[in-house]
């Protein structure tokens, strides 16, 4: 466990040395800020007209997650591929750490970075709490944030897993992005035309459990299990890819 933390700490610090991480943070927080302003503006307009409903920040979290489809592969692409390219993987693989600890440490480092950004977005519900009477639905908010953390954990784990397969970080980026596109959009497209099978496809979609359940206030066991399973799968793929490198 200590090794995972040591590796995570280094990766987390390392993000702040690279311009990419700032670009990613900016590319998330700027659209979120603009979107939030729009929500406030539209809600204000509606209430002047005597209609509309109290705003909450679940659409903000949805946008955060949607942007992560494109941006999380950028955060994970170099985590292990770069170690292989630079040869430092040899250093890691001859240090007394388990392959899983290396992969999990990288993932945790990325996770901490995303959590830092997520922490900043807490400003939105806090602002709303002060603007809306009698305040926002915090149960919904907590469910939404748990969903956000879980889906980000899954995406980052898959990203780290794919990064372990490649030596070229851009290959890792595009393969991860392609997989997320498939899991987010492609898998749910035919679902509308199918009956029972459609349900299954929806269930497998990356967005479904977040959009339909967690971000709507219902913390379903299925949703939580789905994202935790994807996280475990990503870390397993990463660990296996490292082990295969040893045997080659």
């Amino acid at each position: 466990m200590k090794n995972i933390w040591t590796i995570a700490k280094r990766e987390y610090d390392n993000y702040f040395n690279s311009p990419l991480a700032y670009v990613v943070a900016f590319a998330i927080l700027l659209p979120l800020g603009i979107y939030f302003s729009l929500i406030l503006y539209v809600t204000a307009q509606n209430s002047f007209m005597g209609g509309g409903s109290a705003p909450d920040s679940t659409p903000i979290n949805w946008l955060f997650v949607f942007l992560m489809v494109f941006l999380s592969p950028a955060l994970t692409m170099r985590l292990l591929s770069d170690e292989a390219r630079m040869g430092t993987l040899e250093l890691m693989l001859t240090a007394p750490i388990r392959d899983f600890e290396l992969v999990a440490g990288k993932w945790l480092g990325a996770m901490l970075f995303v959590l830092s950004i997520a922490l900043m977005t807490l400003v939105f519900p806090i602002v709303l709490e002060n603007l809306v009477s009698p305040g926002i639905d915090w149960k919904l908010m907590i469910s939404s944030y748990i969903g956000l953390v879980l889906i980000c954990a899954a995406m980052l784990a898959i990203g780290v897993g794919i990064s372990a397969i490649f030596t070229n970080q851009f290959a890792a980026y595009f393969v991860t992005l392609g997989l997320f596109f498939f899991l987010w959009f492609m898998i749910s497209l035919p679902a509308n035309y199918l009956q029972e099978a459609g349900q299954v496809l929806n269930y497998l979609s990356l967005s479904y459990h977040f959009s339909q359940n967690l971000n709507s206030g219902s913390m379903t066991l299925g949703g939580i299990t789905y994202y935790l399973s994807l996280t475990a799968l990503g870390l397993f793929v990463g660990t296996t890819a490292i082990e295969i490198r040893r045997w080659r």
Binding site: M86, L93, T94, P96, R98
Partner: protein
């Protein structure tokens, strides 16, 4: 400390090392010599737990490299051939990170200590990316020494260093080798000659010779060679030397000296000296010629290692 038996590694259809057997004891520096692609790095990678062998067994510091890889890795210090470093890190932070991964107590103090050992204390706060090749090599060495390993495995440890640093690093290795086991690979034959207690010569994945450098010389020569030099004209010197019973081969050199051979075991130099003086020459020099490690190396590896 290191015991290797029947070690074999295949990369696909290519056999990188084939049935290697050797050992190295505590307090011994063993040199690993061989041409490029001979299997030196592959062997070292197996011994450090980086990759498992296809067949055979390797015990390092009392642990099996496959079954107890983590235990082996705790006890081995490794400097890979192309020193892999995080170029975006500061020297001190990098070593501290590696130290934390090895759970070293008082890691800051220990990092200062090894930086002092490799002479990099004044560059502790510099970025690794800004260091010269020689300095990076020393950072790699510091990393390998950090946890006071029982076994030190060094792949070309002095490559890229300037002559002054080479002397320092060799001295460092020599000191470490007094108490621990050091296995080092090198292309520099004189390095093996003056640093190693024993050398293993490996060619095409097989060990073709294993001995001390002195024994290798004696074994390969089969005969001892001596150079004779006298004052003035020496046209008939070969005939004089040939008069001594047991002298096998006499050769005149363009500089006037004469080289002769005799079967090792019985030193004929006193007899030759007496004969030269008897024939009226002023003897200036009677010098035995050793075989250099370069010659041994070429002898063993030049002809597919068949010629011994």
């Amino acid at each position: 400390m290191i015991k290797v038996s029947g070690l074999t590694k295949d990369y696909g259809a290519r056999r990188a090392i084939n049935n290697l057997n050797f050992d190295a004891q505590q307090g011994e520096i063993v040199g690993f010599l061989g041409p490029n692609g001979a299997g030196k790095t592959t062997t070292m990678r197996i011994l450090t737990g980086y990759m498992p062998p296809t067949d055979g067994e390797a015990i390092v510091a009392g642990y099996d490299v496959v079954e107890e890889s983590l235990e082996v890795r705790k006890r081995v210090g490794y400097l890979p051939e192309t020193v892999p470093l995080y170029t975006d890190m500061v020297v001190f932070e990098y070593l501290k990170y590696m130290g934390e991964l090895r759970h070293i107590p008082n890691v800051d103090d220990r990092v200062d200590e090894v930086l002092d050992m490799v002479g990099l204390l004044e560059r502790a706060n510099g970025y690794i990316g800004n260091l010269s090749k020689g300095m990076r090599q020393r950072v790699g060495l510091a990393q390998a020494l950090l946890h006071r390993p029982e076994v030190l495995i060094l792949d070309e440890p002095t490559i890229g260093l300037d002559p002054g640093q080479v002397v320092e690093v060799r001295e460092l290795i020599r000191n470490i080798g007094k108490e621990r086991t050091v296995l080092l690979s090198t292309h520099l034959l004189n390095e093996a000659q003056n640093l190693c207690d024993r050398v293993l010569i490996i060619n095409k994945g097989r060990i073709v010779a294993e001995d001390t450098t002195e024994n290798l010389q004696a074994r390969l020569l089969g005969a001892e060679r001596v150079v004779v030099r006298v004052r003035g004209e020496a046209d008939e010197l070969p005939e004089t030397v040939m008069k001594v019973k047991g002298v096998q081969k006499v050769e005149s050199h363009s500089d006037g000296s004469v080289e002769f051979e005799f079967a090792s075991g019985k030193d004929l130099r006193p007899e030759v000296a007496k004969q030269i003086i008897k024939d009226g020459y002023d003897l200036l020099e009677l010098r035995p010629l050793g075989m250099s490690l370069e010659e041994i190396f070429l002898e063993l590896t030049g002809n597919d290692g068949k010629k011994k």
